[in-house]
């Protein structure tokens, strides 16, 4: 009898599948007669601002600013903030636009320069996923840190930054009788053989920006040769940041490519600071930049602008920086001394802006990938 019940349940399952479908009429001329912006959560009178972001901004195991931002924003504005963090990040929205489907989200928080370049490179005839924001309407725009600006068209406004750096374990290096690596060349010497774990630039933003950093150092003609020496010295390229940092934590190698904010996390869990030393190669740190940009088909451009303005206020910047364990994008945010101490800054900031990246990323990564994986 049980087996027959099985089959009956299957029938019900198939029926429920149909119930899970939804159908909406599509407008002939794009989407003028269908509501854009948000599709869910709108209550009478209170507009909903839907903000796209990456998952760890709203749901990280340690700390994330999403809930606090939502609470503060809603307290000040007559609006509901709805977070939306799709798998695939900005690519999700880009694919929607390319498929001719409305983006249904008002702005994106956490956009990197390479995200923006890719969004522009993959849209046809000059269409842009984002539109530019009038900084005259943004209260604290004068205080945005210049080095963090990357979009010449003024669509992306910096939201925060972090530095890509080495994180190394001095206890393990003590066994080799050496101190932390200080230059790119150090990493290719016998002293640091089998010492470095790198997240794969093909799947990881961290790894990709480390690749850019080496291009900045050795140029487009020299970076492949440097990587060859790095690999010959036993550097490992692992799946992503999680795999690389995980293996580092297990003591598989004394150094990993990660972020200069590492000690903040180490401090939270009372870890041994010797195992969380920060290494700025050649005195540099590659700035991992993240910005906010408004989607060009939003129907709430003003509310989106209010959100950007809100996010850039010094006290909000300071709080978000601490909760996101990143650096603020404005120069007038006041951070507690301890946070400053735990987040060392490099002497020189390196980063590739929009123009440097535009049209180049695929080629750099393509050449690099083939060299590394050659069988």
């Amino acid at each position: 009898m049980k087996r027959r019940a099985y089959l009956r349940t299957a029938g019900v399952g198939a029926a429920a599948l149909i119930a899970g479908c939804s159908a909406e009429p599509t407008g002939e001329d794009g989407s003028t007669d269908t509501p854009t912006g948000t599709t869910t959560g709108t209550t009478e009178g209170t507009p909903t601002l839907r903000v796209g972001t990456y998952t760890s901004f709203i749901d990280a195991p340690s700390t994330s600013p999403g809930a606090w931002v939502k609470e503060q924003f809603e307290a000040e504005h007559d609006a509901t903030l709805e977070w939306f963090a799709p798998d695939g990040g900005i690519d999700y929205f880009l694919q929607r636009r390319n498929q001719g489907v409305t983006v249904d989200t008002d702005l994106y928080a956490g956009l990197t320069p390479e995200n923006m370049v890719r969004a522009d490179d993959n849209l046809q005839n000059g269409d842009s996923l984002f539109d530019s924001v009038d900084t005259g309407n943004i209260d604290n725009a004068d205080h945005l840190i210049d080095e963090y600006q990357f979009d010449p068209q003024g669509r992306a406004l910096p939201m925060g930054a972090a530095y890509i750096s080495l994180v190394y374990n001095q206890n393990m290096l003590d066994e080799r009788g050496v101190s932390g690596p200080e230059t790119f060349e150090d990493l290719t010497t016998e002293e640091y053989r089998d010492a470095l774990l790198i997240p794969n630039p093909q799947n990881s933003e961290t790894g990709l920006e480390f690749l850019f950093w080496t291009i900045n150092e050795y140029g487009e003609d020299g970076y492949l040769d440097y990587w060859q020496r790095l690999l010959d010295n036993g550097a490992r390229i692992l799946e992503g940041w999680g795999a690389a940092y995980g293996a580092y934590s297990e003591g598989e190698a004394p150094a990993v490519v990660s972020y200069s904010t590492d000690q903040v996390f180490a401090d939270m869990s009372d870890a041994d600071m010797a195992e969380h030393q920060i290494g700025f190669l050649n005195g540099e740190g590659y700035a991992y930049l993240e910005a906010m940009a408004r989607f060009s088909d939003t129907d709430k451009p003003d509310l989106a602008e209010s959100f950007i303005s809100f996010m850039l206020r010094p006290e909000i910047q300071a709080e978000v920086a601490q909760r996101n364990v990143a650096l603020p994008a404005v120069d007038n945010a006041e951070l507690p001394e301890k946070f400053d101490e735990l987040t060392p800054e490099p002497e020189t900031v390196v980063s590739f802006d929009y123009d440097r990246l535009s049209g180049n990323v695929d080629d750099w990564l393509g050449e690099w990938s083939r060299q590394v994986a050659e069988q």
Partner: protein, 591 residues
């Protein structure tokens, strides 16, 4: 009343067949087809150029591509090799990405058989307390997310791992296994050897003791009786497991990159790379080639399987007690148990250990984290209990769809009608298509929706997840059931039909009871697929509360491994308990 019932029964199979076809089309062939079509479509025109250029690229096809350009490479690449004092000529061929991928898959298959067969022997031929429990738990490694397996393997085989600590403690040198081919092969065996053990043990248990006894009475040694009589009856099951292992290892991605690094990249690594670059055409070309390769292999295997029509068991041989005076048999078994402990149990145990260890020793902080998340998570954050209940619900839902689907396709495939092997081959397609492309197809075709007659149809959320899991899981049921179904005496089926029983009634009352062991084994692995599935789930559940345990684990990965490993242990415990329940429910039914 009986007339209506009879009519309903007569209609059941055709209706089930149509539903299966509809489900497969909606959740597999349509979404995957629209992505793969980019492999042969350029600017709206049909072209084989992208496929051709990949085939001719030595980066992908190594020496084969080189030889197509200039065949002389086949002999100029032969170079002297050395083993000790002996020098011999051996081809130094470039494997290319496809060649290397196939090579590591082959090694993984061999390793899985080597580790799986002794397991099957122990499970099928010995009696010991907890045997059924261990058999039920064989599917557990299958649900482990790759990042957890990677962490477990590093903790076991890494520089400071359990193995090296043990070796150095007794004065032996360390072995550096991490970031080498052997560790990848071992990790694949961790996933797939239990599968081979389970499938083979099921077949072994249905080998009639009489056949071997007859051989013995005719003067064959026990060894000869095994090789000539028992082994041929096991071979279809072993090869089924080997085929699945090969395909899974061939499509491996995350585990290769986490334990081996990019220098040991597989084709699938490139598929992910192309998809990340939004080059869907390039990804589709590679996926099409991967799929064709897997399907051709499947077709070849099915042709072989069709020729194997062993008689099913009347009386299985009695089991030997595992505990007893040591003889060669038992010594060998205990040696295997030691190896199995290192390969299968230690990685999982070290994850358990990691979940209760902090920077300052023992801690329950990671489990406290799970509890506090449960109590205080925001609507847009992940709650552990929701993940657990969703996973179980989807697992049960997937079983309810995948089992009838799988059995149905097994019935079709064992029929002697033209094209049945082709249908059977195509029914394996969900295993042969890269997970990332299935995910992409579901995203574009179902989440974004498809416009028909001015309406945009979208399918998302829990229902879509269940359906996608069922589609990804039913081939397990088919592959477990089909070989057993083929052993059923056709004359019994035909006489029942002549006596007026509907095809459905024959299936229910005659065939299923005889193959129920296979149904249960298939169901266990189908459930495991559903519980462990990540690629499609994370896409279909995006932005809703339809997430599962693997999605929660991924979300909890941070600088400290603790929270994710704690969730990983929850996943292990919940699935282990489910497997015990599935087997208990399936036990004693049918037969």
């Amino acid at each position: 009343m009986t007339a209506i019932r009879r009519r309903l029964e007569a209609a059941t199979l055709p209706v089930a067949a149509l539903s299966t076809l509809a489900l497969l089309t909606l959740l597999f062939y349509y979404p995957v087809g629209r992505v793969l079509s980019e492999a042969i479509l350029r600017e709206g025109r049909l072209t084989l150029e992208p496929l051709r250029s990949v085939l001719a690229d030595p980066f992908f096809f190594g020496v084969l591509a080189q030889a197509a350009e200039d065949p002389s490479v086949l002999w100029t690449a032969i170079e002297p090799h050395r083993i000790g004092p002996i020098t011999y000529p051996f081809p130094n061929y470039k494997l290319g990405l496809f060649g290397f991928t196939a090579y590591q898959a082959l090694l993984s298959t061999i390793a899985s058989i080597a580790l799986g067969l002794p397991g099957a022997y122990v499970l099928a031929r010995f009696e010991f307390p907890g045997r059924k429990t261990i058999r039920s738990l064989t599917a557990v490694p299958f649900v482990m997310p790759s990042i957890m397996v990677a962490i477990g393997f590093i903790a076991t085989f890494g520089r400071n791992g359990v193995l090296n600590t043990a070796l150095t403690a007794v004065g032996l040198p360390r072995i550096e296994l991490l970031y080498t081919l052997p560790i990848i092969v071992l990790a694949h065996a961790f996933y797939d050897a239990p599968l081979i053990a389970r499938v083979t043990a099921t077949a072994w248990e249905s080998v009639d003791a009489g056949t071997a006894e007859t051989a013995r009475s005719l003067g064959a040694s026990p060894r000869r009786a095994f090789v000539d009589v028992v082994f041929p009856q096991l071979l279809p099951a072993i090869l089924t497991g080997a085929l699945l292992t090969f395909i899974f290892s061939f499509m491996s991605f995350a585990i290769v990159l986490a334990l081996g690094g990019l220098r040991l990249a597989t084709v699938e690594v490139w598929v992910y790379h192309r998809v990340n670059q939004l080059d869907y055409g390039g990804a589709s070309t590679l996926v099409t080639l991967e799929m064709l390769f897997s399907l051709v292999l499947t077709y070849a295997y099915l042709q072989y399987e069709a020729r194997q029509r062993a008689e099913s068991a009347a009386r299985p041989a009695p089991r030997k007690p595992l505990f007893g005076p040591l003889n060669t048999d038992r010594v060998a078994v205990w040696a295997y148990v030691a190896v199995a402990l290192v390969v299968f149990v230690t990685p999982m145990a070290s994850m358990l250990l990691a979940s209760v260890t902090g920077p300052n020793g023992f801690t329950l902080a990671n489990y406290e984290f799970l509890v506090s998340r449960q109590l205080s998570a925001e609507a847009f954050q992940i709650k552990p209990l929701t993940a657990i209940s969703n996973s179980l619900l989807y697992g049960a839902g997937s079983l309810a769809i995948a089992v009838p689907m799988g059995v149905l396709l097994a019935v079709v495939s064992t029929r002697d009608v033209p094209g049945s092997k082709l249908i059977d081959t195509l029914s394996m397609a969900p295993f042969a298509v890269s997970g990332v492309v299935v995910g992409l197809g579901l995203l574009q075709g179902l989440v974004f929706g498809t416009t028909v007659f001015g309406y945009r149809f979208t399918v998302t959320g829990a229902v879509a997840v269940v359906a996608a899991h069922a589609v990804g899981a039913y081939p397990f049921v088919t592959r477990n059931v089909a070989p057993l179904l083929a052993t059923i005496d056709r004359s019994v089926v035909e006489s029942a039909r002549t006596l007026g029983a509907s095809r459905f009634r024959v299936l229910l009352d005659i065939e299923l009871p005889q193959v129920f062991a296979g149904v249960v084994a298939g169901a266990a692995f189908a459930f495991a697929i559903s519980i462990g599935e990540f690629d499609s789930t994370v896409i279909l559940a995006s932005g809703s509360s339809a997430y599962t345990m693997p999605v929660a684990i991924e979300r909890f990965i941070g600088r400290r491994l603790g929270p994710a490993t704690a969730m990983g242990c929850v996943l292990l415990v919940v699935t282990a308990a489910s497997f015990l329940v599935i087997d208990r429910l399936g036990e004693g039914r049918g037969m």
